[in-house]
Amino acid sequence: MTRGRTFVGALALLAVALAVYPLFGTGYGVRSMLQLFMWVALASSWNLISGLTGYVSFGHVAFFGAGAYTTGILVTGAGWPWPAAALAGGVAGAALALLIGVPCLRLKGPYFAIAMLGLNEVLRALVSYFEGLTGGGNGLSFPTRHATVPIYYAMAFTAAVVIGMTYLVITSRFGLRLMTIREDEVAAEAMGIDTFRHKLYAFLLSAVGPGIVGGLAARDQGYIEPMSVFPLATTITMIVMVLFGGKGTVWGPVLGAVLLFVFQEVVWSHFIYLHQLLFGAIIVAVVLLMPRGVLGLLQIRYRLPRTI
């Protein structure tokens, strides 16, 4: 129990430090932290569907892009304030997940993964096609007023909510039922678990966070176009972060996001061309050497709960 209390205390301290950071930090620092929060939210969201149920979503950036465009259209076209528009982006993510999940989650794992990969390409094409609404290939430009610090807080809050949601899910019997799908879907069904419905709920939950941070990131960057908000690389990064940190745990995706983000920033500034090569090497190394990720390894070795 005392260990738990120390952990909560450390978290509270960290939260306070992050809350006052924009008062002291440089513009670059705040911007970097904001991006880190975004990756934490994205990786943790991906973990909710793929880490728990084992259904690998190769198109999760679709929800990010849907959120970005929803926010972009509402801000530039309808004059919404960006916080409300970003929340609408979360709703758009969930709505898209419902639309896609109902047919695709009936597919078995590998087919689902491929279908999700296709979804991303379809969305990118659609966004390019409906020029009147989305600006097509020209993209959408936001009003230029700076909002980095408010977006920093909004990003941090979203990341915290996604982590909190993950904690609640993983410690609940609903979370256990999601894991039974990963472990043995047939046995889960035979035990009376409506696996389709459970997958769908997890999928909806996993799409809200990316929708919101997509909207926030769009507002922060000030400009979006189809190629910039639907990159496959974003999905790959989410996946690598979760696998590296430890799928199916609360803090694994967070740890993976922090470590890989810092690594990327450092390597990016020093070896621009080596960066992708090293990133690829990490993927291979993780899959081969520790398929459970850092926390997964510790969890098995020291019998740690999934909440660590």
Partner: protein, 233 residues
Amino acid sequence: MAMLEVRGVRKSFGGVTAVSDVSLALETGHIYGLIGPNGSGKTTLFNCITGLERPEAGTIVFEGQRIDGWKPHRVAQRGVGRTFQVIRVFPELTALENLMVVTRGPRAEAEARALELLRFVKLERLAGEYAGNLSYGQQKLVEFVRVLMTDPSLILLDEPAAGVNRTLLNDLLEAVGRLRDRGKTVLLVEHDMKVVMGLCETVFVLDHGEKIAEGAPGAIQADERVIEAYFGR
């Protein structure tokens, strides 16, 4: 009226007819055996009853309601529990969590019940261990008590005795007997004839997907068609 009535069920895979017009009826509160040589269709029949396979023909009526064509989770929720021939515990969930997954309502109560069941199969000390780390026999026991967590009225056991040591086996068989005494109905597939003969009141025999005999264990053992199915003419 029978609690489970299987009428004319047929299921084939490609050119192989796994189950061919099988009919059988189970009455509440009895233990039934389902035997037959390998490949005679026992597991396929289980799968048809529990919704994992959709029968091509025939009906399955459980407690007055047709359940053929239902999704497996619906059949399970309706009150049909089963274990598998090949162990299907959830390996990266603890033994306790394996039992907790299907429970609803107050968590403390469910946990107490799960621990009681684990104690019953002498696994309470391993409650926090990942099910995948348990021995084959222990996993088998986890699967057996897991099915009891949902309190089904009909329990289908696919080779419960295989791989379980003698002492535990006796406990397990005693448990099956007690389930019957509490008004549960049990249908079990088993190759161990001692188990079948000692426990079952009625035995159905399948061969090449067809039901070739049905009756009390003693009579079945003397049935010529059964002997032929097992040993050839």
